[in-house]
Structures are given as C-alpha cells and as structure tokens.
C-alpha cells in the first residue's frame, strides 16, 4: 500500500520534472530574483533590503504560478488521457491515488523552491549579505502556502476542467491574500445575516496572508515561534480538510 502511494508520488514528480513549463517558470523565478540587484541600483535606501524584498517577491510569485500550473493539470490529465484506468484497475484505492498525487506535487514544490531558495542564498552572499535564518523561515512559510495552493488545485482538477480549475485556484489564491479586508467588511456590513456570511467565508477560505512574512523578514522582525507553530498547524489542518474533500469527490467519480 505504501509502495503504491510512493510510486504514484514519484511518478507525479517525474511528470512535473520532465515538463518544460516547469523549468521555464523556475528559470524566470530565478531570473527575476536576480534582477532585484538591478532594482536595488535604481532605488534609494538600504540596497540589501531592496534586494531581499524584490527577490523574495519574485520567488513568491513564480513559485505560486508553478503550484497552480502543475496542480490544475495533473488529475484532469490522468482522467482525460485515461492513464488513470491503468492505475485504478490495479490494487490501488482512490484515496491512495489522491494522496500519492498530492505528495508528488508537494515534492515538486519542495524541489522547485529549494532550487530557487538555494540560488537566492548564494546571490545574497555574493552581494555581501550573510545567511539570514529569517529568510529560511520565509521559505518554510512559503512552502506551506504552496502546499495549500496545490491542495486547492488538486480539489478542483478532480472534478472540473484545467481552465476552470486555474480560474478557481487563482481566485482563491488572490482572495487568500486579502483576507484582512474582513475586518473592514465587519464594520461596513450592518445586517447580521451578511455579517454572519462574511464571517463564514472568512473561516472557510484560505488565509494565505498568514504565510507571507516577507515584510517582517526584510525589516528584521520575523514572527515568533508560537505564530509560526500556529501557521503550520493551520496549514496542515487546511490541507487535510481539502484532501478529505477531494477524496470524497473522487470516490464518486466514474471513468466511462
């Protein structure tokens, strides 16, 4: 059973790793991160801060793109091209299939992020900066965010087309970064029904802003251990809930 999950995960990773779009996005992520040097020349103030700020923002943007692009296609493609028949006709449960797919995507994101982070650390060092543990923490939080995005895209790709999955996942990604607006909605909305609805959405939708600690890292005030621990627990719970929902949907799917 464990071998089956491992096999599906490794095959998923291999599929992503042999996709040219994946390399292209990693390449652009690195390129834009390195171009932060150029931005630091053109901006007044602490050059290292600007370099870190724009570099991390570029890595954030491109790694999120990789997460959405790889996630929305994978399950849909398996169903569309009927490769799923070769897997599920063997002693593999649908739960194992989804779990394996998620682990493969998670591994893909880990490797992509590790490559970009590694290059970024070297780049910072070459520009006179030392190793900053806060930046490592930033990458850990970013990885958690990417895993949530991947789980969201997996959910949508288990029952809809890649285009719709892409739109839905991207929408949730954007909404997830503006969850702070809930506090303003609370003030504006007077009717209890609407307030309740807004509150419901606040807890239902992913609060991805929690994981974006770029400003704190760049300014040298990283979040404390307790905040990090809560964010980790939040990410794990959210991913688990998404995977359970995906499995429930996928169990009912028929492959005609």
């Amino acid at each position: 059973m464990r071998t089956a999950v491992k096999g599906i995960a490794l095959n998923t990773f291999r599929e992503s790793a042999r996709n040219k779009v994946f390399y292209l996005l990693v390449f652009f992520g690195v390129l834009f991160a390195l171009s932060s040097k150029l931005v630091s020349f053109l901006t007044l103030g602490d050059a290292m801060k600007v370099l870190k700020d724009t570099g991390l923002a570029a890595i954030h943007f491109f790694s999120a793109l990789i997460a959405v692009f790889t996630g929305v296609n994978l399950v849909y493609k398996e169903i569309e091209k009927k490769t799923v028949l070769n897997i599920l006709s063997k002693p593999v449960s649908r739960d194992q299939f989804i779990f394996g797919k998620f682990l493969g995507l998670a591994l893909t994101m880990l490797v992509a992020l590790a490559v970009m982070a590694g290059i970024f650390f070297v780049f910072v060092a070459l520009n006179g900066g030392g190793f900053d543990p806060a930046i490592a923490l930033y990458f850990l939080m970013l990885l958690l965010e990417l895993l949530i995005i991947v789980a969201i895209s997996l959910l949508f790709s288990s029952f809809t087309t890649p285009i719709l999955s892409f739109i839905f996942t991207l929408s949730l990604y954007l909404i997830g970064h503006v969850m702070w607006t809930y506090n303003e909605f609370k003030v504006v909305l007077k009717a209890p029904l609407w307030r309740g609805f807004a509150r419901f959405l606040y807890y239902l939708l992913p609060n991805l802003a929690k994981f974006n600690i770029k400003n704190e890292v760049v300014l040298g005030t990283p979040p404390g251990a307790w905040t990090v621990l809560l964010s980790i627990l939040y990410a794990l719970a959210y991913i688990l809930a998404l995977l359970c929902l995906t499995i429930l949907i996928f169990r009912r799917r028929e492959f005609s």
């Binding site: 071998t3 096999g7 006709s89 002693p91 492959f255 005609s256």
Partner: protein, 305 residues
C-alpha cells in the same frame, strides 16, 4: 471457483443534469472458467467496455454481483490477481518502457529485485527487448499495445482482461498478439477479451458470450454453439442418371462434375443417400454445413431487432 462470475449486472448512465437515462447493462450474467480463453463479443456500444469497467471497479454498478476469483469486486485486493489492458491504451509518454513497468510493479508492492528480473523477461516476451529505454512518445501503436500487455502481466495475474486487444494492430501485430494469448492459456492463465472482430474470436476462444444491447444473448463453448447450429447438409454424388436424381431430390446443383444436393435434416440425408445408392449412384461426401460465429452473431442481431 470460477475465474470471473457476473450475476445480474446493471448499469445506467445519466446525462443532461441527470434527467436522461441510458440503460447500458440490463442484467449481465456470465461465467468464465479458469484456464480458458473467453471471448466477449458484441458490436460497438453493446456494453462490453462498461461491463469490463464494472468488473474492475472503474464504474459503480447499479446492481448485480461481480466475483473475481471468488472475491467481490468492491475489495481492492480482488484486483491483485487481475491484469488489464484497456482499449487503445495510453501511457505516460515521458516514461520509458522500463520506467512504466517499474511504476506498474510499484502499484502491486512487488519486491524490487524480482521486479527487475520480471521486467526484462516481460519485455522480451512481448518483443520489446532493446527498446526498454526509449521514451514512449517514440513508440508506434503496435509497440504501445505490446507494452500494454506487458504492464498487464507485471503481477503474473491469474485472470487477464483485455479490452479490444487487436484494435489498431497490423496483421503481424495481430498474429503476435494471438500467439501471446495462446501462450498465456498454455501457462494456465484465464483470458477474458472483448472484441467486435469475429475472425479473432473464431480463431481463439474456448467459450464465447455474445452481448447485444446490454444483455448476454448467447453463451457457451464455441464448438458447441457451432455444432448445435447445423444449417443444412450437402450430399455430393456421381454415377446416377440426372433424371433419376431429379425424381429423388429436385434441389441440386452441378459442381466440379458432381451433383450436389442440399438437404434440410439428417433424416432426409438417410433417405436420399439410400435412394442414390439404390439407383446405382455413388456417394462422394456428406457434409453438414454449420453456422459460423458470424452467422450466429448476425442471427442474434436480427432476432434482437
């Protein structure tokens, strides 16, 4: 215990927001004995692939029972002893044959040392030795079909389910596939394959089930189905005056210098043969003309309309 038992299998597809129903399987009953080649014959859209997918748990049946080697299909372990080749198989084109088979083996929890040995043997068996490290996007359709069979055999299954295994193969490919299926039977495996190509069925199967419009219309040993289906008898004779022959039986023709009479029953044959001999004629041959599988198939199709 049967290799495969299907009782009262029903399946309905719905479309247009569940409003429209299509009853694809209307109560399939069939049994596949161990060690035989069972042909599942039917035209396109008869329900062959739907039946197979219900057997493999890829579709949820509305009702009925499916037992694979005595185990209900809902148990995932029932697929441990099954190999499956889908119709027009497609595999990950970024993998090589070796990688694909290693992946297939991982789904069965097979130990890696045994897998390496088995992959080499399987690739040799399906005629893909020397191509194991070529990316599948470079494979021809025939090679993909062979590889499909290899991945279906990775777990050394007792029951092999092949959905239209000859589809898209050239004559050489078809011959090779037939030889492979025969060799599997010789090795004691059960082969259940679907096809709409009568020639393949007639050449290969021990038993056949004819499915039409979601129902099994005929099932049994091919030899018995054909033996039961004698259409008429032909009696070839010579040495008798044509005038006498015409008095005995008016329905005759001249073929290769002999008279050939067409008779409806074996009782008629006895009477006519006696009369010919009594009139100084000589019997050259008495041939029962049987229905071919094609005749049986089309007769069932006509009955169904």
């Amino acid at each position: 215990m049967k290799a495969l038992e299907i009782k009262g299998l029903r399946k309905t597809f719905r479309s247009n927001f569940m409003l429209k129903k299509y009853r694809v399987l209307k109560g399939i009953d069939l049994e596949v004995e161990r060690g035989e080649i069972y042909g599942f014959l039917g035209p396109n859209g008869a329900g062959k692939t739907t039946t197979i997918k219900c057997v493999l748990g890829l579709l949820n049946a509305d009702g009925g029972e499916v037992l694979v080697e005595g185990r209900p299909v809902a148990a995932i372990d029932s697929r441990r002893c099954v190999g499956f080749l889908p119709e027009n198989p497609y595999f990950y084109d970024y993998l090589t044959a070796r990688e694909l088979l290693t992946f297939a083996a991982s789904l069965f929890d097979l130990p890696p040392p045994a897998v390496r040995e088995r992959i080499g043997a399987l690739l040799h068996r399906v005629g893909l030795s020397g191509r194991e490290d070529l990316k599948l996007r470079k494979y021809s359709k025939g090679m993909i079909q062979r590889l499909g069979l290899a991945q279906a055999l990775i777990n050394d299954p007792d029951l092999l389910i092949l959905d239209e295994p000859f589809s898209g193969l050239d004559p050489i490919g078809r011959k090779d596939m037939r030889a492979l299926i025969f060799s599997l039977r010789e090795a004691g495996k059960t082969v259940f394959f679907s096809s709409h190509i009568l020639q393949d069925m007639e050449m290969m199967v021990d038993r056949v089930g004819i499915i039409l419009d979601g129902v099994i219309r005929r099932q049994g040993k091919l030899s018995e189905l054909i033996a039961r289906s004698t259409q008429y008898y032909e009696v070839a004779c010579t040495g008798i005056a044509e005038g006498r022959l015409a008095q005995i039986q008016s329905n005759y023709a001249v073929r290769d210098g002999h008279y050939v009479l067409t008779l409806a029953s074996d009782a008629d044959v006895n009477l006519v043969v006696e009369s010919i001999i009594h009139n100084d004629g000589r019997i050259i041959a008495v041939t029962p003309v049987k229905m071919t599988l094609e005749d049986i198939f089309f007769s069932e199709m006509r009955n169904g309309q």
